[in-house]
């Protein structure tokens, strides 16, 4: 196929939209931590835009997307250092330049490890995070992206993942769970209140995430066409339904509809629709978003029951939301929406897709959790000073101790 101007324009714009999600995520998380840790949270996210981009052009892209469609476990070195990719080269099966695809997929590789930062808030040393994000990107993200996004073994078996329910959200969520176990709880959690220091930042971040998610999901059509429009609308509807559902459950259980609830619900819906975006139609996004909003809210209580400090609920929102979306796709997938998809249980496709979805989720979860645990444990042993800040530094705050800065200079005396 020849390069199509409309498709290329849309994918390039989508890449910019998705990149904008990472600072959006930084604000979403940054508002939820205490004021003494806000810069450290922003920095862990911002740094992902730097380091992952460097890795991506050197060898990340080729390890994820080299050998596209080989049904295997990892790519190859055909495009190491982006060699042999001319500006005229068209990405197979699309009408966009390979370079546009490289940029678009890069933004996914950036935000996926950044999602983990919410779980480890207020206690991880910056040097440990630098080590973790490099190793995790290479050892976890690249293979999993290959298995599903690049025609690897899970895709070949028939698992569907339109924009990254498993590759991005389940993957990051399982990695977060592993790090939470290795790091341990914040001091005095959950006895001492650690309320968000600025919910306005969190709501601003939510708005940016929602805006950027149109590129994430509709851009994943890799064309400016009907599937992209369907994915766009599904994204919109699922976020809205999940926000409403979260608020209803919250109002019934806790007595108030909160702004943090509205923000969290919208994000839960966006997560759940991600794998489904270009494969479902009609009112399916209403159901998927509604289920995600209610279930993710209820999943938050798990950390109190089992005593693990998933500080900003990455597991309840991204792991649980990603599982919900990936598995519900096995029910709601409709091949008439997108011939590249399949029919789920509700559209006469039987249980085979559902089975593949469950398998993909379990495989990604187990793989990411295990390798993340190994990476974190290795860093804990290898780094003098370990992966966690000292008690004194934790009390002082990460902004001052890790970055020698303060987020807010308000006191005049």
């Amino acid at each position: 196929m020849k390069i199509n101007a409309g498709d290329t324009a849309w994918v390039l714009v989508s890449a910019a939209l998705v990149l904008f999600m990472t600072p959006g995520l930084a604000l979403f998380y940054g508002g939820m931590v205490r004021a003494k840790n806000v810069l450290a949270m922003l920095m862990q996210n911002f740094f992902a835009m730097g380091i992952v981009t460097v890795l991506w052009v050197l060898f990340g892209y080729t390890l994820a997307f080299g050998g596209f469609g080989n049904g295997g476990v990892i790519g190859n070195f055909d495009f190491i250092g982006l060699k042999d990719i001319s500006s005229e080269m068209v990405f197979a099966g699309t009408a966009i330049p390979v370079l546009a695809f490289v940029a678009f997929q890069l933004t996914f590789a950036v935000i996926t490890p950044a999602l983990i930062t919410g779980a480890i808030a207020d206690r991880m040393r910056f040097v440990a995070w630098v080590g973790f994000i490099i190793l995790w990107s290479v050892l976890v993200y690249l293979p999993v992206a290959h298995w599903i996004f690049a025609g690897g073994w899970l895709a070949e078996r028939g698992a569907l993942d339109f924009a990254g329910g498993a590759v991005v959200h389940v993957n990051a969520g399982a990695g977060a769970l592993a790090l939470v176990f290795l790091l341990g709880k914040r001091r005095r959690w959950p006895k001492e209140p650690m309320p968000p220091h600025s919910l306005p930042l969190t709501l601003l971040g939510t708005g940016i995430l929602w805006f950027g998610w149109f590129g994430f999901n509709a851009g994943s059509a890799l064309a400016a066409n009907g599937v992209a429009a369907q994915a766009f609308l599904n994204t919109f509807v699922a976020a809205a339904a999940a926000m409403v559902a979260w608020l209803i459950v919250e109002r019934l259980k806790d007595g108030h509809a909160t702004t943090l609830g509205a923000a969290s619900g919208a994000v839960a819906g966006l997560v759940a629709i991600t794998p489904c975006a270009g494969f479902v139609g009609g009112l399916a996004p209403l159901a998927i978003g509604g289920v995600a909003g209610a279930v993710c809210y209820l999943a938050i209580s798990l950390k109190f029951r089992f005593g693990y400090d998933d500080s900003l609920d990455v597991i309840a929102v991204h792991l649980v939301g990603g599982i919900i979306g990936s598995v519900l796709l096995g029910l709601f997938a409709d091949a008439s929406v997108n011939p590249a998809g399949a029919d789920g249980v509700f559209f006469g496709g039987g249980w085979s897709l559902f089975g593949e979805q469950v398998l993909a989720v379990v495989v990604v979860m187990v793989f990411s959790f295990t390798v993340s645990l190994a990476i974190g444990f290795g860093l804990k042993k290898a780094l003098p000073g370990g992966i966690r800040v000292s008690e004194e530094d934790e009390e002082t705050g990460l902004d001052l101790t890790q970055h020698s800065e303060t987020g807010y200079a308000l006191e005049r005396v």
Binding site: P193, P195, D254, G255, G261, I300
Partner: protein
């Protein structure tokens, strides 16, 4: 000379300030403070987790006065800051040994 100290509800500050101005009070100091009395704190809920916030925000006002003015100023503060609900605060008076106006060096009641 006496120091009148009042802990009041923040939204009553403007009313108290106006009442004191009407009484001819020349100056006062205010600060944001936190604490609890019989009102105790309040609860906040974040993603279903309920936190008890022990300390409620209050405003502390301090006024240096002549002995003769203590009664009417104290009364004015109490009456303007009263809502009748729990958490209205307290006013107390402490003796002051000496006062100096920094600019002029005046001391004692002249400096008040």
């Amino acid at each position: 000379m006496k120091l009148i100290v009042g802990i009041i509800k923040p939204f009553k500050l403007d009313d108290v300030k106006d009442a004191l101005k009407d009484l001819g009070v020349q100056g006062l100091t205010v600060s944001d403070v936190q604490g609890f009395g019989r009102q105790r704190g309040h609860t906040e809920v974040y993603r279903g987790a309920e936190y008890t916030i022990d300390f409620v925000p209050k405003v502390r006002i301090e006024i240096l006065v002549d002995d003769a003015d203590v009664e009417r100023i104290t009364t004015a503060i109490v009456e303007t800051s009263r809502t009748g609900k729990i958490g209205d605060g307290k006013v107390w008076v402490v003796p002051v040994d000496s006062v100096v106006r920094i600019r002029t060096g005046e001391a004692g009641p002249d400096a008040v």
